[in-house]
């Protein structure tokens, strides 16, 4: 078990490094940061000045190494665009995105677990197809379209919810639905498949034969087994939700990490972008690690060394 964890940890570190290197290179390739910082109307002299001030004229590996050294010492640098330290900036936006991500995940599970269980119990019937249909609704439309439709219905017509912002819990309802619904079909299919497999298995038949009530069978035995892959998927989906919330945050003006990431990419704000990428990959890797450990604990058969 310990060797397993060490290996996974080593992997995690390598991944974080690789991702930060690729991100760094990609951002540089996508344009001259000096021009982005100097802004509209800057003369050539302005741009050269910017380049020298921020050290963009040094070779790429040198810039990367210097960034890495500083980050490991805890100095995340200063936002080139906002001209404030990067770390507090990121932390202030992280909260909103984290809340949104967790709520969306919860929403996705709330939808997909009952639908998946129902679909498995009544497999291949019209209930099965209906459940799948309901789950897929969230994925049938581009998410910005879906989000704006929600706004149209619940804000402009019904006047039940505020359009945008993040001041109250009501502000989070539509973004949660828009983001979470997208993740639902994957979970639902997984739960359905897992439950079907388990419901057919011998030990379930034994439990039924013993006369255990159906609900005990479903929840104590079948679901527990079906949950195993769902835990793994949760990590993946949370990673997606955190990173992919750009569209939802943009539409609902949520000022979270996703939108900050988009801004930092647009404005070539290296320190912020690098820090966000690092943060997200660390979170993602930790989640994967946690889900692997949880899986191994739930099902001792899965210990792929």
């Amino acid at each position: 078990m310990h060797i397993y964890m060490l290996k996974r940890l080593g992997l995690a570190v390598l991944v974080a490094l690789a991702v930060s290197m690729i991100a760094f290179g990609l951002l540089r390739l996508s344009g001259d940061p000096a021009i982005a910082i100097a802004g509209e109307g800057a003369t050539q002299a302005d741009i050269v000045l910017v380049r020298q001030t921020y050290g963009f004229d040094r070779p790429l590996p040198v810039q990367y190494a210097e960034w890495l050294g500083r980050t490991l010492r805890g100095d995340l640098g200063e936002s080139i665009y906002f001209k404030t330290p990067a770390a507090p900036l990121i932390l202030s936006k992280l909260q909103t995105t984290l809340v949104l991500g967790l709520l969306s995940l919860a929403f996705a599970l709330v939808i997909s677990v009952p639908l998946g269980v129902l679909a498995a119990l009544y497999r291949n019937s019209w209930i099965d197809r209906l459940c799948l249909g309901l789950a897929v609704i969230g994925q049938a439309l581009p998410n910005f379209f879906f989000a704006l439709l929600l706004i149209m219905l619940f804000s402009i017509v019904l006047h039940w919810l505020p359009v945008s912002g993040s001041d109250s819990w009501q502000h989070f309802i539509m973004p949660t639905v828009a983001l979470g619904y997208y993740a639902a079909p994957a979970f639902m299919r997984l739960i359905r498949a897992g439950m079907i497999e388990v419901l057919d298995a011998d030990y379930i038949r034994t439990a039924r034969a013993k006369g255990l009530p159906a609900s005990t069978v479903i929840f104590k035995h079948a679901l527990r087994n079906a949950v195993v892959p769902v835990v793994a998927l949760t990590a993946v989906q949370l990673g997606y939700l955190l990173g992919g919330s750009v569209v939802v945050e943009t539409i609902f003006a949520l000022d979270g990490l996703g939108y900050l990431a988009y801004q930092s990419i647009t404005f070539k704000d290296f320190p912020v972008m690098q820090s966000i990428v690092l943060l997200l990959s660390v979170i993602y890797v930790v989640l994967t690690l946690a889900s692997d450990v949880a899986n191994a604990w739930l099902d001792p058969r899965i210990r792929v060394a």
């Binding site: 991944v15 996508s30 994925q139 049938a140 439309l141 581009p142 998410n143 793994a232 990428v277 792929v304």
Partner: protein, 298 residues
Amino acid sequence: MAALAQPAGSPLQLIPTRSVWQRIWRNKAVVVGGGLLLLMVLVALLAPWLSPHDPYAQDLAQRTVPPVWYSAGSWLHPLGTDPLGRDYLSRLLFGARISLLIGVSVAIISGLIGTTMGMLAGYFGGKADLVVSFLVTTRLSMPVILVALATVALIGGSLWVVILVLGLLKWDRFAVVMRSATQQVRSLDYVAAAQSAGASTTRILLGEVLPNVLPHLIVVATLEAASAILLEAALSFLGLGVQPPLPSWGLMISEAKAYMFFSFWLIAIPGSALAVLIFAINLAGDGLRDLLAPEGRA
């Protein structure tokens, strides 16, 4: 990952017999989904003949004309025109080609990459598994927008750039699913038999493993195709997708967003078309998965 295990020792029949056709017909999901898909493919192929106008022809005097069922509409433009005066029906029909092309191409490219990686990881385990794990985790931690933005900045936005970016990014689920599916198949009798008979690894992978993981591959391929088509719309929303005047449904939806509250049909028409396509793909994919699963589930 919980997978749909097949009973040991029953390799898949790849050539459908009569009884297989009967099973296909009885599976409503495949029939309806597949039928819709086929219809869309046909429409896409016949677009040049079905379209009343040139989808690129602008007419600034006929901007944003509503569809025929509004009082201001007419049969000259059955589905109305867009803000540059281009016939919407024609753009919709030609857009089917683009969306389908994106879905299929991305599924093929990412499928090839991901399946190869997954099968190698699942079959050999050990170092190969570690490397693939590393690659998958790295890929999942990369923000997609960044890659898209960098690519577009380097090469400029176009249909092929979108396909390339999506194809190079969406192989992760293939890799993960194929890996676990291969792991399960690896331990089956006939694979061991082939190994002891001295067959080469390639032959085993292609001849014994692949046919048995095919159901998973197809399911993932359909889901990834649908997801790719939707992602194209998201990329267009961020300005990183196909360039106008190309009538991809994703771009049409993204452009029509600005008129959503006042000329709802501009976004509803390609939006509905896209939704139907996604539903059809999902339906067909799920139906196929049930179909290709062993007897106990049909």
